[in-house]
Amino acid sequence: MTSEIILLGHGSGGKLSHQLLDELIVPTLSGYTPQNQNDAAIVAQPKGRLAMTTDSYVVDPIFFPGGNIGDLAINGTVNDLAMVGARPLALSVGLILEEGLPLSDLRTILISMKAAAEEAGVVIVTGDTKVVPRGKADKIFINTSGIGVIEHTFAINGSGAKIGDQILINGPVGDHGMAVLARREGLELDSDIHSDSAPLNGLVAELLTAVGADLHVLRDPTRGGVATTLKEIALQSGVDITLNETSVPVSKAVTGACAILGLDPLFVANEGKLLAFVAPAAADAALAVMRNHPYGRSAAIIGEVTLASVGRVKVRTAIGGLRSIEMLSGEQLPRIC
């Protein structure tokens, strides 16, 4: 590679494009050689139902404490597959690069994508790269799509919440949103806040093994945070949910940063968290599984499903008050993923 930055020619389909693909992108992401590249990837047909998802990533800044746009794009799609109880199999990667992007930045991002894919046990089987003129995109946008296989017969979906279900989360909330915001706005906080970006498919597999059909709902509280996600599930399942504010784990640093900025951690995005609705008899077992897993050390039971209803979410506040929560509206924090 002779140029140190992305040129328009890198997206032309010609010689520069081939050079970028053959020397950097394909070897870093997949290890395919030019000889075994075709117009589409061929994947062996697995046993079970297939799950498919897609997501586009436009986070600003592209590098933030605890990760970058690359691992975020892998983990996000892996997690979307895991949230329906699927085992992620294969991903596609679409890159939209802005002319002038330093090649070193692209390399760093690709290397972390590969590392994230390896950790999640998923392969990147196909992709696409486009370059747009300077100013027509912001450095790099990434789309990832994924397919996974559902190897069990349990029904895990947002409409499956049942009365009495205990609601578990695998750790402290708000880290990703506040890490991105702090970096983007140059906020000088006393303590560092790192994104929680992580693949959750391993944790989900262990939960499925341990509690099986007692696991009713899984969802990752990304944009809009825990509050918005619980409201979605309450509406989808037609149930009321009560959340205990004091049970929700929040780090000191996030609590402080949110207090300064007037944000509510319950509405701040996460990228390595899941909410699990579990039948009461299996709640302790699910909590134990989470706490034994590297991505669930400070897991907690934060609330429960109280009755069949129109989908209200109420929060029991620290001082014993009660408030209801609605979905996040507007853009409290734009471009966080």
Binding site: E185, T317, A318, I319, L322, R323, S324, E326, S329
Partner: protein
């Protein structure tokens, strides 16, 4: 001390609530307390405080949300400036979605205007220093809490010799609107939870004339749940005993004399003026404008633009809500036509707005 957990202690909260209940148990009639500040409104909703109080204490929200009390013609003025070529508008985020007569800053941004959200007026000065070929306008909206930082920004720009940093000001002061509301027979305010951080600047003594003239209870109160409960308790005790005075619950931050240094910086750049409050109208001596000495930084003087005639949105009850006369649920537009996604009035936009708080946290 950890300010975010110790001031939310459930056992202490229960003790405060019990003391409040005992204090008002034999009080005949309803006690009406107005929380002046938008941050109080948000805290009261966020912690579910209203439902915990005895039935004969009524908390109403007041005119202390700076974005909400900004008149519509100011938004129109900002929109007109945003449409100027070679202009960068810098603002706190809340102003972006406030609807003007026919547009909003967010719409202008979508049409190509350059609008940057900043967390400090000094960030706007830095943007001006980096973009000297463009006029950088900071939207100066707020109370005495933020105005000293705007004054500081103007002084900094003057020191740096920046000719392209300007402020479009709509600065408001306390406690003039509290006096304006006290005479309203529909409201019958018995006591004020006085603003916390505004008082850190103006000092607790600033409320003495108000209390002496109108015999109203006044307690400067912090923003954490235990602060609010203690403020309510102190107000209730004043009202029950009939001994109205200025008390300071927020002593860890507010002093009788306030912050003379901040006021000195403010006085260098700003002078008192009458101001227009949305919903309340013109109140003498309730605003601050840039002194003639610093006219070079006054966008209203330096950047003449044609501003459309102000048209309030039909049906919008923000004015009544800002005076505490109705609650959001009494507004026919609330939740139906007016939502945070499509706000009709400023009270639904601002993170300190009563309607936004009710929408986000209100219990059915």
């Amino acid at each position: 001390m950890n300010y975010t957990t110790e001031f939310r202690d459930p056992e202490l909260a229960a003790l405060q609530l019990e003391a409040i209940r005992r204090t008002v148990a034999n009080h005949s009639g309803v006690m009406t307390l107005m929380e002046v500040c938008g941050t109080h409104t948000m805290a009261i909703y966020q912690h579910g405080i209203r439902a915990l109080l005895p039935k004969n204490i009524r908390l109403i929200s007041g005119p202390g949300c700076p974005v909400c009390v900004t008149p519509i013609d100011y938004v129109d003025h900002a929109v007109a400036l945003a449409r100027r070529p070679n202009t960068i508008i810098t603002t706190f985020g809340d102003m972006l979605r406030v609807p003007g007569s026919s547009s909003s800053l967010m719409r202008e941004q979508a049409r190509g205007a350059t609008i940057k959200i900043v967390y400090s007026p000094l960030d706007a000065v830095a943007i001006a220093a980096k973009n000297r070929a463009q006029d950088v306008v900071f939207l100066g909206v707020g109370f005495e809490t933020t105005t000293p930082t705007v004054a500081g920004a103007i002084l900094t720009a003057a020191r740096q010799g920046l000719k392209n940093f300007l402020v479009l000001g709509s600065h408001k002061t306390m406690p003039a609107p509290m006096a304006a509301l006290i005479g309203d027979p529909e409201l019958q305010v018995d006591g004020y939870l006085c603003p916390a951080h505004v008082s850190a600047i103006i000092g607790s003594d600033a409320y003495l004339p108000l209390v002496n003239q109108y015999q109203v209870a006044a307690v400067i109160t912090g923003f954490e749940p235990l602060d609010v409960l203690q403020g309510v308790l102190m107000l209730a005790r004043q009202i029950v005993s009939g001994k109205m005075q200025v008390e300071n619950q927020y002593r860890r931050v507010v002093h009788p004399e306030g912050n003379p240094k901040a006021r000195d910086i403010l006085d260098q750049v700003f002078e008192p003026c009458a101001a227009r409050w949305r919903g309340i109208g013109d109140i003498p001596d309730s605003g601050l404008r840039i002194r003639p000495k610093y006219a070079a930084f006054n966008a209203a003087i330096q950047l003449p633009v044609e501003v459309e005639a102000a048209v309030e949105r039909p049906g919008c009850q923000c004015g009544e809500i800002l005076k505490g006369k109705i609650s959001p649920k009494d507004c026919p537009l609330f939740r139906t036509v007016c939502t945070p996604e499509e706000p009709v009035g400023a009270c639904m936009v601002s993170s300190e707005g009563t309607c936004a708080a009710e929408y986000k946290y209100g219990t059915d």
